[in-house]
Amino acid sequence: MSMLALLGRELRLSLRHGTDTVAALLFFLVAAALFPLAIGPAPETLGRLAPGIVWVCALLAALLPLERLFGADYEDGSLDQLLLCGLPAGAVAAVKAAAHWLVTGLPLLLAAAPIGLMLRLKAELLPVLLAGLLPGTLVLSLLGTAGAAIVLGARRGGVLLPLLVLPLAMPVLIFGAGAVEAAATGLSPRPHLLLLAAVLALAAPLCPLAAGAAIRAAAE
């Protein structure tokens, strides 16, 4: 049983239940479309707020499918089989995080460019926004996986999950939106992007370990 075989199975399952991906994408689009309606379509106001809007909406959209990440496996007994597949629990969690990013994070990243333009973001700032969203969405998948594993088995886990993940995601939001802000004022976005990469380097080993310990505890 390799991690690749498990990832293939997870992706196949996600594609069969494609509604989760589509729902996250549509949420992203609809939530972002609310802002021009609320604050008016003036290009200068909207363009200034656009990076923050894209980041916040992507963050919230990435949370949507998290409850089912382990929830379905927990309910139908598959979690036991995953824990007994011969991989360490941390590796199973890492596969889950990778699957979440491929199925949710990557589509959000791809949708961010048209949504940014829709919000009158200056075209030259788009590469900076996407360069920040790439590590940003990866960190969100990792944090989300850890959060989803921790609330597993709790009553009202779906409500608990955002309360747990959103505070942890704040540094990502600050550096991600800060990178675009810096580029807009003529400064280098590099320090912000490097800090985002540092957060990713920290989350990549720690979140799967925490999530692995949490799913072991939930199975017990």
Binding site: G8, R12, G77, L83, C85, G86, E220
Partner: protein, 229 residues
């Protein structure tokens, strides 16, 4: 050392065991596949069982019996490494079984209460990706449980009994020497119980061992019984 000896001697921990001349404990020629001594487990705040000992040789079978809530499922999950023992030792061929949980998982196949069947995948796809097959064929495993004709069907179309058979096919596919079965005949018709009997017999002939929790008669000839109160 064999399991028929009166009482179960607690084996020394893994480190001690390698010293052959430790004196008080006779050196076992071939330590049993699985041996447990003084096992205890909590479920929430409640102590479900304590001082449980068991011993299983290759080819052996052990039936766990007892009233509802006596801890049969918990003991099975403990043997699988899913529940941590509150006390006691579990040894695999004489060495601590639970030292490396991922490695222990490769030695066993576990059939829980739930079938762990994904409704969105086809019957054949359900067996792909989570089982360490050791080169065994999905088609043959499905045929062993009489599911060959349903391989391409979405698993959500299966009846409860067919889903149970699909969960059993996961065992047929697995190359693991230890099978842990929680009420394996749940929802099965008579013909399927016969298929399960043949599957269990083949597994034991190959030197595999079976631990099963059950309320019903199981096709496991010569199985030892462990009663939980």
């Amino acid at each position: 050392m064999d399991c028929n000896a009166p009482g179960l001697r607690p084996y020394p921990p893994a480190g001690q065991h390698s010293h052959n001349g430790s004196g008080a404990i006779p050196h076992p020629a071939e330590p049993p596949l699985l041996a447990g001594a003084g096992l205890a487990a909590f479920r929430g705040e409640r102590l479900v069982f304590r001082d449980v000992g068991l011993c299983l040789e290759a080819g052996g079978a052990l039936l766990l019996v007892g009233p509802n809530g006596s801890g049969k499922s918990t003991l099975l999950r403990l043997l699988a490494g899913l529940v941590r023992p509150a006390a006691g030792a579990l040894l695999w061929r004489g060495a601590d079984a639970l030292a490396d949980l991922a490695e222990h998982a490769t030695r066993l196949a576990y059939l829980g209460h739930q079938d762990a069947v994904k409704p969105g995948l086809s019957v054949a796809e359900n067996l792909q990706g989570v089982v360490r097959t050791g080169g065994r064929d999905v088609g043959a495993a499905l045929a062993a449980l009489g599911l060959a004709g349903l391989a391409g069907l979405p698993a959500r179309m299966l009846s409860a009994g067919q889903r149970r058979r699909l969960a059993l096919a996961r065992l047929a596919l697995s190359a693991a020497p230890l099978w842990l079965l929680d009420e394996p005949t749940l929802g099965l018709d008579e013909a399927s119980v016969g298929l399960l009997g043949a599957l269990l017999a083949r597994h034991r002939e190959r030197g595999g061992a079976v631990v099963a929790a059950t309320h019903l008669a199981l096709p496991l000839p010569g199985a030892a019984t462990l009663g939980l109160a």
